[in-house]
Point group: C2
Amino acid sequence: MTMDMTFLGTGSAYPSPHRGASALVLRAEGECWLFDCGEGTQTQLMRSQLRAGRITKVFISHLHGDHVFGLPGLLCTVSLNTNPSSVQDQPCVEIYGPRGLRHFLRVTLGLTGSQLLFPYAVHELEPTLDQSPPEGQLSHEMTTESGPLHPQEQPGRSICLDASSDCYLLFEDKKFVVRAFRLFHRVPSFGFSVQEQDRPGRLKTELLKELGLKPGPLYGRLKAGQSVTLDNGRVVLPSEVLEDPIPGRKVCILGDCSSVLGEGPLKACNRADILVHEATLGDEHHEKAVEHGHSTPKMAAAVAQACCARRLVLYHFSQRYKPCALQKEGDDDDVVELQRQAEDALDGSGIEVTLAEDFFTLPIPLRRPQ
Amino acid sequence: MTMDMTFLGTGSAYPSPHRGASALVLRAEGECWLFDCGEGTQTQLMRSQLRAGRITKVFISHLHGDHVFGLPGLLCTVSLNTNPSSVQDQPCVEIYGPRGLRHFLRVTLGLTGSQLLFPYAVHELEPTLDQSPPEGQLSHEMTTESGPLHPQEQPGRSICLDASSDCYLLFEDKKFVVRAFRLFHRVPSFGFSVQEQDRPGRLKTELLKELGLKPGPLYGRLKAGQSVTLDNGRVVLPSEVLEDPIPGRKVCILGDCSSVLGEGPLKACNRADILVHEATLGDEHHEKAVEHGHSTPKMAAAVAQACCARRLVLYHFSQRYKPCALQKEGDDDDVVELQRQAEDALDGSGIEVTLAEDFFTLPIPLRRPQ
Ligand SMILES: [Zn+2]
Ligand SMILES: [Zn+2]
Ligand SMILES: [Zn+2]
Ligand SMILES: [Zn+2]
């Protein structure tokens, strides 16, 4: 099963002609999951090879405009691309984000008379009081929805921090477990951990043939973990005929932050194949970065190291950093320098560092059986 | 005094890489006035030669997403470009639009924790019940602002239709009178008429010299309409020494519509130098256009003719019409055909037709004294 990630916007604060505002798409099993949706994301999607209509889940890390202003328009355009004759079959678009997101969507879609050809639900993460300075917290008055649901809105859940895991469990199905965890930023911000479920190893076909089992439905039962009794009474256990299981991949995407909060993030990101972390400003601007609730490459590297990630991907660059392709000899701010700073900090750790650029696609290869 | 208009987005329904969503800037006397602000307008502004920081007034024709989703982000980015040391001197950004716009901005700016370095005020136009089908009207429940003003919000006015003029008077100062008028669309939609005040004619300098008056402060008094008494007791009247006044220009910008409502629009647009009118679909799609509350070139031409405009500018094209530069031989939908349809309808009228494209700038020359 292929899995990859495409960055639609890698700029911070606002979209520019050179860098879109925050947005990336994780593709797995034919589904597209969108992480953050700054203004202009729908246009970036059109410029990319991805199809907006395939977005089934949306995750919003925090309610800053450069991460959410594009969401109402994106939903409207996805709806315009929906075949009106298949409205009955449209799955609900599940949207996860901080408390306040439901009200944001209800008001923006409602006042603009936006009707969608699919249902949506907003599942809100309840922040804790230490997740931002007090002035960054939204009052309950501001986030309480008055009036009826939007016509296409389905009731969403309110998800609280699970104290034992220090995480928010967003959902778990046969393929994935997705969790959120707390970050410290100017407003409550979250990271997301997408954990693919382990999958059974390959069948030892030679052995099966020796046992007299031919390809057919029994193969499927064995692969599904059920034992099979042969005509001669011999019971074949899945563990006999299956290779080692294929460990699921783990992709972690962190929103804006100057630090992580509690043990949750490190646990949720432990041994991540990919850790996507912001690096708004270079190490030489450490103080300014922290003052604005942001990170430098060195800070991102420390998180990658603490959770033993395999690859650190940097994004959310200040608009002062031009994309490599537009970089000129002698430019003061060189985005490649951000990569070097992270690499220096990770020297000897074996953790690789990648710079994200708009429209960059990162394949996420299967793990080998352990 | 130079005056011009730059189109930042000429597409309907949503922004695409080829056509931005609705937005245009009228420049006069060093001020920039923004008309509509679809998603991506701030990025289109950056791509243009205009400076976002100069925007002092915003006019929103109606609350469809393709005309308003870019406004919160644009305000945030203008603020980021504001010099923090000149915060005291920042003029209030005056925003005009339909009822509901104030709530839209308060919620979007509020939930995203967006602080602005300048004050803003939203002056709401109260629609009438016949301005859209009933389902397009916003309930008072949806538009009633609860809670306090946004920290940078100043109280705005609520402007009702003036029955005698069938118009909304937005403001009048020494340079301009700006009015709004009603259009019929799926939701309440408005047009705007920007009328420059007439200005005194040039001084007849030869005559002044004959009278013994030398260039100096007295020239200014005459030009300002005051009479001047010479040393010999002779009273010089402004009318004696001024050429005919220079009539003010008139620019009218209509939001989405399939027709105008009442006498207001025709009065407000009478003899407009420029009439900007939507032409979402070609004449062959008349039925579909009207069904969606939109116009065809022929319909736009009829409005231009009814108000004796000098030039009709078409915009808000369905995204099926590619810009001329990207048009290929044999393409089904040809935007130039829209121009031809309007020209055919206006044959013999002397009204010129212009197609707007993204980043197209139209100079608006001074009128000659009549
Ligand atoms: Zn950000
Ligand atoms: Zn942020
Ligand atoms: Zn429109
Ligand atoms: Zn509209």
